[in-house]
């Protein structure tokens, strides 16, 4: 088992720097010097805000410095000043470096065209540098003609959560490079949450970037992210030296991007019970996160016992697809503080595919380590050679169904008798590619062959773990140093931050349009706006056009859940007394927002939800102020008292809907009005009711007879008040001590209400009621 890794002359065009990735995302075939000398580019509205992500790793004394990103930031505002006497041009630019917080670059890392200039000011969350007026200006008495750009930008923009730069420089007469591109070598990219190692800071871990993007897009709640798997994946990439240093500025679907990137980091996008995460493509040692090169253990072994009839299907990969290949791995040699250039490394199994076929893997956007590229190449080459077949098995459901997830290793061992007396076994390890749990209970697994050697070790893991690059770093070949600013070329201080007093962020008018919420501004629509009629909304929204069916239980059995309540309409019942029980003469009112409308009143038992009856139905009109009034009488109250129920009232209104067969839309229910809960009535004579501090109401059945009944009360030393209502009326006022009175009963109603008001701490009271006679 041997890999051959080379860097042949056949790929010289790539190595000579003719393929570059521009900051606009496309590859540019050009001479590097020419590319650096292009004209300053500007921000284009509608294009993605770039994410500069990465981390320069300096290994002094070795040939293994890597990482960092060479960025050509676009400008948002410019100013060119021409002195026509001296012919000098002064350039001022503001630029956007990246989304998020990127620390200050070093002075020595700032370029204009190919020259290190170092003159820069940095800011986060606002525009960098001192304020200047955008435009082109000419001063002096000469007559030099310079063609300036026509549009210089404007004083606007919030620059929220962006890192920005300000650059200024003065150019001598006849130096026409004043409008050339500014570049920055970024050693520490955007700050993110680091899953491996913790904290927030610059990172070169692709999993950190993916996690940031998932969070930023707000498309996936935290609950759907497999945090444990993400953490393992982050450690796996970190320990094995797989790094991401680049600019993300090409629009892509996040899931597509994750799946594409995962392969370049020997990961797969995994879904466990619906939760997304990354999982290594290779077995790993969990304690160290390194690629495991020992004997592989499998998570579950399938035998004939598990398979359902016809539950085995095998498909061999044709030889044409397993033919050895040479993987051309494209990566980026990123010198510190200079432009990176594309490198290629060929990976093939020793002695095979010497003349191809070649398969190219372009990792130049993000890969700055040869070893990283080589290991990915080794995986692809070995996978192609050693993975020979796939399986689809259909098995009976069992406990393993919840244990196995995508990417797990399983063993399939099946007895085979093709000839009489000759027994052999189909016995291989597989990686799970797909799980299908059907409604019938049968589970279907798509399995990919997982090749192992005679010692039970993963062949792919052995290839990848053993693969290393040549370690050779090409000389930069740069010979244009004369234009560097000698004061800044080796200055390793960070560039200056923007003075807090600088006002380069002018007041920005809000260009966003916020549409009003229904129920607010739409309550007062303009005259020509269509009228929003809640009851006519087809299907009903969650706000209540559906509501509770009057024929069913108004409350749900899932009452333990905070959200498990029926959504009421936004029209409440008014007129409910809050300081006493509902009683004869009270009036409850519903005022629907539509008029005319049909209103239905329901009486029902609060505890059981059983509807006692439909009180009445009426239509509201402008003549009655569009109100529906429910006059409470003793008859209404009495029906609730039989059995001592909690008495609730709810109304429902229906707006006119000509499209409906009934002429009205769906009923919209008011919130439930719970009338003060009653204790079951007590029978006269007696009661012997007593208590302490508070307000208490008790219903007493004094009989249907007219006449009077005795009422004995005792407030003791601390004053209380006794009030009788309902079929009789009496009020002791606030009193101490006790007494007995005869109370007249002039109604044939059976029930009186005795309410005791006892507001003072430490009080006690008692009363007794006789029967009417």
């Amino acid at each position: 088992m041997k890999l051959r890794i080379s860097d042949p002359l056949a790929l010289l065009p790539y190595q000579t720097g003719v393929i570059f990735r521009s900051t606009s995302g496309s590859k540019v075939k050009d001479d590097p010097g020419t590319w650096l000398n292009t004209r300053q580019r500007s921000v284009e509205l509608g294009t993605p805000v770039p994410i500069v992500f990465g981390l320069f790793v300096d290994n002094p004394g070795t040939n293994d410095d890597y990482g960092g990103v060479f960025v050509s930031p676009p400008a948002t505002k410019i100013r060119y000043d021409l002195n026509t006497t001296t012919n000098e041009v002064t350039t001022k630019l503001t630029m956007v470096l990246s989304e998020g917080y990127v620390p200050q670059p070093l002075v020595q890392d700032v370029y204009q065209r190919t020259c290190k200039r170092g003159i820069m000011v940095w800011a986060y969350d606002k525009l960098a540098g001192p304020y200047f007026t955008a435009g082109n200006y000419t001063s002096g008495g000469g007559s030099v003609t310079v063609i300036f750009p026509s549009y210089a930008g404007s004083d606007a923009g919030t620059y929220e959560d962006m890192t920005t730069l300000y650059y200024t420089n003065q150019f001598a007469a006849n130096d026409d490079t004043w409008q050339n591109q500014v570049h920055v070598f970024v050693r520490q990219g955007m700050h993110v949450t680091r899953l491996a190692g913790g904290g927030v800071g610059p990172s070169n871990n692709m999993v950190d970037l993916a996690y940031y993007l998932i969070q930023k897009t707000s498309r996936v709640p935290e609950l759907l992210i497999d945090s444990a798997a993400m953490s393992v994946a982050a450690w796996f990439t970190q320990v094995n030296g797989f790094t991401w240093d680049g600019i993300l500025d090409e629009p892509a679907n996040l899931e597509d991007w994750m799946r594409e990137m995962a392969g370049f980091f020997l990961l797969r996008v995994s879904e466990k019970n619906g939760k997304k995460g990354f999982r290594p493509l290779l077995p790993i040692t969990l304690a160290t996160y390194q690629i495991a090169t020992g004997s592989v253990s499998w998570k579950f072994g399938f035998t004939e016992e598990h398979l359902v009839p016809d539950g085995f299907q095998i498909e061999y990969i044709p030889l044409s697809e397993r033919k050895p290949i040479c993987a051309q791995m494209m990566w980026r040699q990123q010198p510190p503080n200079d432009i990176g250039f594309v490198r290629s490394t060929e990976v093939r199994i020793d002695g095979e595919a010497l003349e191809g076929p070649y398969e190219q893997y372009d990792m130049t956007q993000f890969c700055t380590r040869e070893d990283h590229a080589v290991k990915v190449g080794a995986y692809q080459v070995a996978r192609r050679k050693y993975v020979t077949h796939s399986l689809r098995i259909r098995v009976k459901p069992d406990s393993y169904n919840t244990l196995l997830v995508l990417g797990d290793i399983v063993r399939v061992q099946l007895r085979r008798e093709n000839d009489p007396g000759v027994v052999s076994f189909h016995d291989y390890l597989y990686e799970i590619e797909k799980i299908n749990k059907t409604e019938t209970g049968v589970v279907e697994f798509d399995l990919m062959h997982f090749p192992i050697d005679s010692l039970g070790r993963s062949i792919l893991a052995l290839y990848v773990a053993g693969a290393e690059g040549t370690g050779y770093m090409y000389d930069l070949g740069r010979n244009e140093y004369s234009c560097d600013d000698p004061d800044n070329v080796n200055d390793d201080d960070p560039v200056a931050p923007t003075d807090p007093g600088d006002g380069n962020n002018p007041d920005t008018p809000d260009t966003d349009v916020d549409l009003p919420q229904p129920g607010k501004d739409l309550d007062n629509p303009p005259n020509d706006a269509p009228v929003f009629t809640p009851g006519s909304e087809i299907g009903g929204g969650p706000g209540g056009t559906t509501g509770v069916s009057p024929t069913g239980s108004p409350t749900s059995p899932n009452s333990n859940d905070p959200f498990d309540t029926d959504t009421p309409g936004n029209v409440a019942i008014t007129g409910i007394p809050t300081d006493r029980p509902i009683q004869d003469g009270d009036t409850l009112i519903i005022t629907p927002p539509c008029c005319p409308s049909r209103v239905t009143w329901y009486n029902y038992d609060c505890d059981t939800g059983e509807i006692i009856n439909v009180a009445f139905v009426e239509t509201t009109t402008p003549e009655d102020n569009c109100e529906s009034r429910y006059e409470i009488t003793n008859d209404v109250i009495n029906q609730s008292l039989n059995g001592g129920i909690k008495f609730c009232i709810q109304g429902a209104f229906e707006c006119l809907d000509p499209g409906s067969p009934t002429g009205y839309g769906d009923p919209i229910f008011t919130p439930v009005a719970e009338v003060t809960p009653y204790l079951p009535p007590i029978q006269c004579p007696g009661g012997n009711n007593s208590g302490g501090q508070g307000t208490f109401t008790q219903v007493v059945d004094v009989g249907e007879g007219l006449g009077s009944f005795n009422f004995s009360y005792q407030a003791f030393s601390i004053p209380d008040r006794f009030v009788i209502s309902g079929a009789a009326s009496f009020d002791t006022g606030v009193i101490s001590g006790g007494g007995t009175v005869s109370v007249a009963k002039t109604s044939t109603d059976r029930y009186i209400f005795v309410t005791v008001y006892a507001p003072i701490e430490g009080t006690a009271w008692t009363y007794n009621v006789g029967c009417a006679s």
Binding site: L223, L254, E271, I435, G541, P542, P557, D564
Partner: protein
Amino acid sequence: MANRAQSQYVRIFDESGTYRRWQQFYYNQTVTWDSVPWDYHPFSVNALVGSSTQAEAGISITVPATSEAVALFALALDNNYLCEIKMYEFDPRLSQSEPQAGQLLIGSYIGEVTGISGSFTELDVSIGSSLAPIGSQVPPRTFSSRLVGNPAKL
């Protein structure tokens, strides 16, 4: 398991707590499982599929298009509520009146309500990751007038 029956449980919830729980096996009964009540509601889950390929990720539930179901799933769709589906297997000879303590969890899936379609009688509710549809674009932000005003044109 020679005699095998399967029951499915669905619950729809947001980050704050459970919203609604349904089971489809115990007819017209509210049963207790995991110490909480599950209402009877007829539905079926086509299959729980996990795959390395994007196109096959996600599942769907078919429910009668009752006004309650329409309102519930429309609400879930509007609010990105999560939906959890669990499949259990058990021996029906032992008991069919209530969930058995020893029933096996053979599959579970959690996802967002990503789509609803159907007719007046039947609803197909797609459950999956909202990463998959178009719209989850990266990088997440684009240059806008609000962010950068009217930029220079060079």
